[in-house]
C-alpha cells in the first residue's frame, strides 16, 4: 500500500448526494458531524464540490431524474473515488422497489464499495460502516 493510499484513508473527504431520499438518512449523515460523534476525529469532512471528494456518499432510491446526475457526478470525481451506499433505499430501493420511478438499484449504476444498512442507519452504524470501508481498502 503506497503512502498516498495510507494518507487517503486518514483523510476521507465526503461528498453527500441525495438521490431522492426521504431526508432521514441525510439527517443521520449530518448527525455524524455533531459533537457527540464528530467524524472529524478520523480526518473526514463534508466538502461542497465533487472535485474535492474521495467518497461519494449516496442516500435515496436513485430515481430516474437523479440517476443521470449520479452517473455524471461519479465521472466528474477525481480518481480514486469510493462510493458508499447509505440506507435501505440506496441498497435495494427499499419500499420504492415496485415504483415506476426507481428502475435500477444504485450498485447496477456505479461500483459501490460499502453498504450501510438501516432505515435510517444510526450514526454509530455509519461510523462502523466507514471503518469497514477503510479495512476493505487496506485489504484485510
Amino acid at each position: 500500500m503506497g503512502i498516498t493510499t495510507k494518507a487517503l484513508l486518514k483523510s476521507l473527504w465526503v461528498f453527500h448526494l441525495s438521490t431522492g431520499s426521504c431526508n432521514n438518512c441525510d439527517i443521520e449523515v449530518l448527525d455524524c458531524l455533531t459533537p457527540r460523534f464528530d467524524i472529524e476525529r478520523f480526518g473526514m469532512k463534508l466538502v461542497g464540490s465533487i472535485r474535492h471528494a474521495d467518497v461519494l456518499l449516496v442516500t435515496g432510491s436513485c430515481n430516474r431524474k437523479s440517476a443521470e446526475r449520479l452517473i455524471s457526478l461519479y465521472k466528474e470525481a477525481p480518481q480514486p473515488c469510493l462510493v458508499v451506499a447509505i440506507g435501505e433505499c440506496s441498497m435495494s430501493r427499499g419500499i420504492f422497489m415496485p415504483s415506476y420511478n426507481c428502475p435500477r438499484p444504485l450498485d447496477s449504476l456505479v461500483p459501490v464499495s460499502a453498504y450501510i444498512p438501516g432505515c435510517p442507519p444510526k450514526p454509530e452504524a455509519i461510523i462502523s460502516g466507514v471503518v469497514k470501508l477503510i479495512q476493505k481498502v487496506k485489504g484485510k
Binding site: 503506497g2 503512502i3 498516498t4 493510499t5 494518507a7 487517503l8 486518514k10 483523510s11 459533537p35 464528530d38 472529524e40 476525529r41 480526518g43 466538502v47 461542497g48 464540490s49 472535485r51 474535492h52 474521495d54 466528474e76 477525481p78 480518481q79 480514486p80
Partner: protein, 312 residues
C-alpha cells in the same frame, strides 16, 4: 561558504521547509481549536499532512472550458509569492537581508495569493468560481485601504523608514494609535486569510468554496499549502511590523513563539464567534468603520508626535 550557509537558511531552517511545516501545524491548531470551541474532539496532529499527501495522489482534472494554462499557473503564483514573503520575514534576523523598501515588497507580495485565487477562479470556467472571484476582487478593494493606512501610520512613526529592520526594532503596542492600527490590521488579516466572518469569496455553504470549486488533486494541495503558509506568514508580518520583531537566540525565540500563538488564537477566536457577513456589509465595514478608525489613529499619532505626547 557564506553562500552555502545562506542557501541552507533559505531552504531548510528558518526558511522554506520549516515555514511550510509550521504553517501546516498552525492549520492543525486552527482546526483543533475550532473543534474544541464546538465541544468536539478535533482531528489528529498530522491531519494537514495527511490531507496534502492524499491530494498529491489524486487525479488532476482540467476544465474543458476556460484557460487551462492560467488554471495551472494560478496556484503556483500564490504559492511562490507567499513563500518569498515567508523567507524574507524569517531570514531577516539571521542574515542582514533587509534592504530599503522591503516593507513595500512584502505588502505587494501579500496581495498576490488573493490575486492568484481570482485568476484561478476566473480561469476555471465555472459560474460559482466566477462568483467567488468577483467577491474576492471586492474584498481586496475593501480591506486594502485600511490595511495600507495602518501600515503608513507605522512608517510615519518610525520616521518615514520603509525597511523592516528599522520597523522591527520597536514595538508599537505601547501607544494608543499603535494598538488601534494593530486591531485594524488584525481584522484585515482575517479577510486576507479568507476566514469567517470574511470568507465571503469561498463560502462553503453558499457557493461551494467558490474559486476552488474546480480544483482537484495536486493543484488543490498547492492551494491548501498556500493557505496554511498565509496562516503563518501574516501573524509573523504583524509581529515584525507592530510587536518588536523576531530574534532567534535565547528567550527572544520563546517570546516570538508566545506572540505568534497569541495572534493565531485571536484570529481563530474571531473566526469562531462570528457569522459570515455579506459582501456589501464587508465593504461598508472596511471602508466605513475601519478606514475612519485608521484615520483617527493617524491623527492621534500626528498630534502625539507634534506635541511630544509619548502614549498617543
Amino acid at each position: 561558504m557564506d553562500i552555502l550557509l545562506t542557501g541552507v537558511y533559505v531552504v531548510f531552517f528558518p526558511g522554506f521547509f520549516t515555514v511550510v511545516i509550521i504553517g501546516l501545524l498552525s492549520s492543525w491548531v486552527d482546526r483543533k481549536v475550532t473543534a474544541r470551541v464546538q465541544y468536539r474532539k478535533g482531528p489528529p496532529l498530522l491531519q494537514p499532512f495527511y490531507d496534502v499527501v492524499k491530494l498529491l495522489g489524486k487525479e488532476t482534472i482540467l476544465p474543458k472550458q476556460g484557460s487551462r494554462f492560467m488554471f495551472i499557473l494560478a496556484p503556483l503564483i500564490g504559492f511562490v509569492s507567499i513563500s518569498i514573503v515567508a523567507v524574507i520575514l524569517m531570514l531577516r534576523p539571521l542574515v542582514a537581508t533587509s534592504f530599503v523598501g522591503d516593507l513595500i515588497v512584502v505588502v505587494y507580495l501579500l496581495t498576490l495569493p488573493s490575486l492568484a485565487l481570482i485568476i484561478g477562479g476566473a480561469a476555471s470556467g465555472n459560474p460559482l468560481a466566477a462568483q467567488g472571484a468577483s467577491r474576492e476582487i471586492k474584498l481586496i478593494l475593501a480591506y486594502e485601504l485600511p490595511f495600507l493606512i495602518a501600515i503608513a501610520l507605522i512608517v510615519y512613526k518610525a520616521g518615514f523608514k520603509i525597511d523592516l529592520q528599522t520597523l522591527s526594532a520597536t514595538s508599537e503596542l505601547g501607544t494608543v494609535s499603535g494598538i488601534i492600527s494593530f486591531i485594524i490590521v488584525l481584522l484585515c488579516v482575517q479577510a486576507k486569510l479568507g476566514f469567517v466572518p470574511f470568507d465571503i469569496a469561498e463560502a462553503e455553504t453558499e457557493i461551494m468554496s467558490g474559486p476552488y470549486i474546480e480544483y482537484s488533486g495536486p493543484l488543490l494541495s498547492v492551494f491548501k499549502i498556500t493557505q496554511s503558509l498565509m496562516l503563518f506568514t501574516l501573524p509573523v508580518f504583524m509581529i515584525t511590523v507592530f510587536w518588536g520583531g523576531i530574534q532567534f537566540h535565547g528567550w527572544e525565540l520563546l517570546w516570538f513563539v508566545i506572540k505568534y500563538v497569541v495572534i493565531l488564537v485571536l484570529i481563530i477566536v474571531i473566526k469562531n464567534t462570528n457569522p459570515r457577513v455579506r459582501i456589501d456589509q464587508a465593504l461598508k465595514f472596511f471602508w466605513g468603520f475601519c478606514t475612519v478608525l485608521a484615520i483617527i489613529a493617524f491623527v492621534l499619532a500626528v498630534i502625539g508626535n507634534t506635541y511630544g505626547i509619548a502614549w498617543l
